[in-house]
């Protein structure tokens, strides 16, 4: 402003020149645009190649198609109910109420990996077990486990790249072997995990499978001591290897049907085994097994005594988000955990609003 301008009278500021008015208007515009740009940046608009929950779920849809109302992965499943009886041993590691001596109700879901809800049961398919413990005062513990001792991917990006590489070729209906070899070569931890999978015999069914939480969590006890822990559900049913005849079974739902027969016969049980990590054990990498001599704490027994087809209000409508945790259990620094939570939530949101189609396992299938 020129210094010789007369001072404003009363509250009226001196009038601005046309140039000054325009400059000030432009300044206002720039500030507004910067604020908007800041929000767009936070929302990832300037990073179109960054993996987001939506892009990850789109990846599943690209490979498996969209099956209205179903989970984008582990689409085929059945619901179970039962209870967990804690023996109190877990309180040494965590103050979570679930570990105090007593019984809490649970609901769960057995599933097979992949986004096709009507796929034929395959002994090699990854078996999933989602579980929700209803603790007192509305507190919950949710988990999603699989029948593999380690996870084959270190980061969400590795998982996504493998998913896309494994998309079946439209001509051969099989993944392009060249892409799989290339992925294997660039991801030695994946090759190592596959080797571990192949070295272990597959069990005959859900009831005698060991399910592993895979990611490490931080357990904090009443004294405030925090310990890294991984957990497993170890079956009480004796291990039986997958029969060769079974693989040629004509029943495309044989794993689920066998489980239904088994649970109608008697309740099915697992032991919750907590594996106690030591300093130096990797908590941020689910591809690396902990040394076999780590202390194992038997925290109690899970009993499943009821089975249902997926239906409104039961396990179908639950997101087994592994970061719904009770006080006394917290996430570790494993990058997969937050990503799993975000992606499960996105998949849940998408399927929640879709028309629901009947599951492969119907109410008639689960009747005695």
């Amino acid at each position: 402003m020129p210094s010789d301008e007369t001072p404003p009278a009363g509250n009226q500021p001196a009038p601005l020149s046309v140039f000054s008015t325009l400059a000030r208007l432009a300044g206002v515009g720039v500030i507004i645009l910067l604020v908007i740009a800041g929000f767009l940046y936070l929302g990832g608009w300037f990073n179109p190649h960054e993996l987001t929950p939506a892009r990850f779920v789109n990846g599943f849809q690209k490979v498996f198609g969209i099956h209205s109302g179903f989970r984008r992965n582990h689409a085929k499943g059945i619901c179970v109910r039962g209870f967990f009886e804690s023996n109190g041993n877990g309180t040494r590691l965590s103050k979570a109420v679930v570990f105090g001596v007593g019984r809490v109700p649970v609901i769960g879901r057995f599933s097979l990996g992949g986004g096709n809800p009507y796929a034929s049961d395959d002994p090699e398919a990854i078996r999933g077990f989602g579980l929700l413990f209803r603790l007192r005062d509305g507190e919950q513990w949710r988990m999603a486990m699989i029948n593999r001792p380690v996870f084959p991917f270190h980061t969400p990006r590795d998982f996504y790249d493998n998913l896309i590489a494994s998309k079946p070729d439209p001509k051969t209906h099989k993944p392009d072997p060249k892409k799989m070899v290339a992925f294997m070569a660039s991801h030695p931890e994946f090759a190592q995990a596959v080797k571990i999978f192949q070295s272990r015999p597959v069990s005959s069914g859900f009831d005698n499978s060991t399910f592993n939480g895979l990611n490490a969590f931080r357990f904090t006890n009443a004294a405030g001591v925090t310990t890294p822990v991984r957990w497993s559900m170890v079956p009480v049913d004796a291990f039986k290897p997958e029969g060769t005849a079974q693989s040629a079974n004509l029943d495309k739902n044989y794993l689920f049907d066998d489980f239904i027969t088994r649970i109608h016969n008697a309740p099915v049980q697992w032991r919750l085994i907590l594996t106690v990590g030591q300093s130096g054990d990797r908590t941020d990498d689910a591809t690396i097994p902990w040394p076999a001599d780590r202390e194992q704490v038997d925290a109690g027994r899970l009993t499943l005594d009821a089975v249902e087809a997926e239906a409104p209000g039961n396990c179908r409508d639950v997101n087994f988000d592994p970061l719904v945790l009770p006080v006394g259990i917290a996430p570790s620094d494993d990058p997969l955990l937050s990503a799993r939570s975000a992606i499960y939530s996105k998949s849940f949101t998408r399927r929640a609003g879709e028309k629901k189609e009947p599951s492969a396992i119907t109410p008639a299938d689960v009747r005695k």
């Binding site: 500021p13 208007l25 507004i32 936070l42 929950p53 990503a339 939530s345 929640a352 609003g353």
Partner: protein, 188 residues
């Protein structure tokens, strides 16, 4: 003898000014967290752990603020504002109050309909306010996003208007909401 002059106040009362700036910070933080968390794999969990309790805090504050506003005397609009502008300013203020009240309730409601535990801090949970229904969840989840964009648009309009008044018209509109007395502030 007290002076019985009935001149209107030059500024909003201190309580309203403090609440305004506190909430401005909370709401901007919340909008930033909201837009970032839905796009992030690595920060999703940390951000949503702040998003839930901050949303409830905003719900509490907006109620306090609305009640406080009812019992406060407000300064007049500057003479530079036409009756039309005054109407728009008032309507957008009411819309902001409504959005800040409804948005946390939609968030609480959608988590209720999905039967997520609504964790605030540690073991502190909120009770569900709606029945378990994934269709209801999906509708409320979409509403939550739409209201967030609307809230952001109304914030941008409010911010633009105040900037325009302050930088171009220079009518001391902002001094009515300044944390200080606004008298010593330099004329821009």
């Amino acid at each position: 003898m007290s002076a019985t002059m009935t001149t209107e106040p030059r500024q909003f009362p201190v309580s309203m000014r403090v609440l305004h700036w506190l909430m401005a910070a909370m709401v901007l933080t919340m909008l930033g967290i909201g837009v970032a968390m839905v796009a992030s794999l690595s920060y999703y969990h940390r951000l949503i752990s702040i998003h839930r309790p901050l949303g409830i805090l905003i719900l509490i504050f907006v109620v306090i603020r609305f009640v406080n506003r009812r019992f406060s005397t407000m300064p007049p609009f500057p003479a530079t504002m036409s009756s039309q502008e005054r109407f728009i300013a008032h309507a957008s203020e009411m819309l902001l109050y409504a959005l800040l009240f409804v948005q946390p309730l939609v968030g609480w409601g959608m988590l209720s309909a999905a039967r997520y535990p609504i964790v605030l801090f540690g073991g502190l949970h909120l009770f569900p306010i709606l029945p378990h229904s994934v269709m209801l969840y999906a509708a409320l989840r979409k509403t939550h996003t739409a209201l967030a964009y609307l809230l952001f648009a109304v914030f941008i309009a409010h911010f633009s208007a105040v900037l325009f008044h302050t930088v171009v018209l220079r009518d001391r509109l902002l001094s009515r909401m300044a944390l200080g007395d606004g008298v010593g502030s330099k004329e821009y």
